[in-house]
Amino acid sequence: MEKTLAKKSFPQWVKALDSWTVYVPRKDDEGRWDFVRADGQETALDISQTTLPPKKILFPQREVFLEFRKTQAGNLETTEIKEVLPEVHPTVVIGARPCEARAAWLLDKVFGGEFQDIYYWKRREPTTLVGLACTPPPSDNCFCPSVEGSPHSEEGLDVLLTDLGDRYYVKSMTAKGEALISAAPKLFSEPSAEDQKRVKAAHAESEKQIKRQVKDARGISEKLKGMFDSPFWDEEAMSCLRCGICTYLCPSCHCFDINDEIETSSPLRGQRVRTWDTCQFPDFTMHSSGHNPRPDKASRLRQRLLHKFQYFVQVYGQIMCVGCGRCITLCPVGIDIIKVLDKVRQDGD
């Protein structure tokens, strides 16, 4: 289904989605963009790249898996556990970037398969992703076309909006997307042939505006197979502060930890929680014996690169990087995944 929506009608559309929990990007007092609950203040999608991708809506930074408690009756001690499953209201994320939706499409592979992760799917299934085509790209470090995405990719999206100046071109790819249009059908118009022409032109132009590039990502993927033991990684990781920001802010990174948090120890009561974790921390892989298979920064940088560009390709056939550039923009010491990959492509040592 293809429609147009006048920008001045955008706030009304958001208001009409009152059967959904709606998230939109918003700038906070310190100038950082983040996905927040819509509150009727939305005017239009004049947005920049958010610091945190909308991954947090599908896969929150902290979530409770179960509650446990012990009760004592005389000498009889009983342990009880209660599974806590998320109950998620139908949700819409408006203004997700095509790369972020593509990341969700990659996360679907991780949390699906033989062992379905019900916590993820309880959020994913009722969520509709409304993307905004990147005209222009939201970051100087965008490189999505190099990793099989595009600034107007539809992978993982239900609806794609394209900014045409005074209105949005609205393309719905799924029934979930069409439901959003049906919520306020009068706000939408049929697109003219001229609109369709302008959308095509805007999409073509958006690709040209991407400033950065990784040449031959699939070739690099093959080349990495021979680089596990290369001294290359030592030099590349030298400046790493092991802060983990490259992974926490990555739309496709999904590594997590599971821990028990205690509210009271006597009688025992607490929760088992899942939290985001990162391969950049030494504890991530440290055995209780003290042995660590990834003991240094080099082996951990190597893991981040190989997981995204080699292992994920071997297991799922896709590159686990969507080219948003956050890990480049926000790395405090300037480690640049594009430059690292380019060195791999050129000589690999």
Partner: protein, 274 residues
């Protein structure tokens, strides 16, 4: 009802036994599910044990899948969860989820001789196969065990090993001589070279500390075992057990899901990240 793959089943500890006491304590636990259920598993598979309030730990199942009335785990006291387990006794409640991992391909081993080579706590995962092979003795060729520990006090399953001597050759070793020790003195790989198991129609299954495994494999190769005749297990830190949390991988393999059992032919192709 929908149930999360991360939610364990409650189980009661029905019996405990101190195998080794002191700084490298090992304790064996037998457990039964509170709801009376059973776990269908293969030799060499693992289960995620919960001590509520402490967390979870991946432990190999040391009983045979043919034993239906309990699950057995032998556990070295080493971290937060295993220390908490060691403080537990019969009657206490834990959580169990699983089974996880590939397990040993024992159906492919029918008709072959099996030589088990273990070190320290590494006998635990082998024990499931040893017991199963004994219960299905007619299906396998000759069975034998080469097992060692640092000192005589560090040997696990002491009583069971004595009984086992009636059923198969058992070659024990300790690292350093002790006054009353009559068996082999030296490291397990050296004992392998000393006992010279024949590679003819034989599968060697080895489990123990990484350094031991490395030299056992080297020595088995010297004894003309092919890579495909040697099986071992790998361990890495695990949280989810189902190939999602991202930490136990060696190359593109998640040890929790794609391992922990590998033939040397498979394992030598993967990076040394364990």
């Amino acid at each position: 009802m929908e149930t999360s793959v991360y939610t364990p089943q409650l189980a009661k500890i029905i019996q405990t036994k101190d195998e080794v006491v002191g700084p490298r304590a090992i304790k064996t636990f037998r457990t039964q599910f509170v709801n009376g259920g059973r776990l269908d598993f293969r030799c060499g598979q693992c289960a995620m044990l919960s001590v509520f309030g402490k967390g979870e730990s991946m432990i190999s199942i040391s009983s045979s899948p043919l034993v239906k009335d309990y699950l057995q785990f032998s556990i070295l006291r080493t971290g937060r969860v295993t220390a908490a387990l060691h403080d537990m006794e019969a009657g206490d409640t834990i959580g169990i989820r699983g089974p996880y991992g590939n397990g040993f391909p024992i159906e492919e081993w029918r008709g072959k001789n099996l030589v088990f080579i273990g070190g320290g706590i590494g006998l635990a995962p082998l024990w499931s196969v040893v017991q199963t092979a004994l219960l299905r003795k007619r299906e396998f060729g000759a069975l034998s065990l080469i097992y060692g520990a640092r000192t005589s006090k560090d040997i696990v399953f002491k009583d069971e090993l004595e009984e086992l001597k009636d059923k198969m050759p058992v070659h024990l070793s300790i690292d350093v001589a002790e006054p009353d020790w009559k068996d082999f003195v030296g490291f397990v790989p050296t004992n392998v070279l000393d006992k010279k198991p024949s590679p003819t129609n034989t599968i060697a299954i080895t489990c123990g500390p990484p350094i031991m495994i490395k030299f056992v494999i080297k020595n088995l190769k010297d004894l003309k075992f092919e890579d495909e005749q040697i099986y071992t297990t790998v361990e890495n830190k695990m949280k989810c057990g189902i190939g999602k949390c991202g930490r136990c991988n060696i190359g593109f393999h998640y040890v929790c899901k794609d391992g922990p059992v590998y033939s040397w032919a498979e394992l030598k192709k993967l990076p040394q990240e364990y």
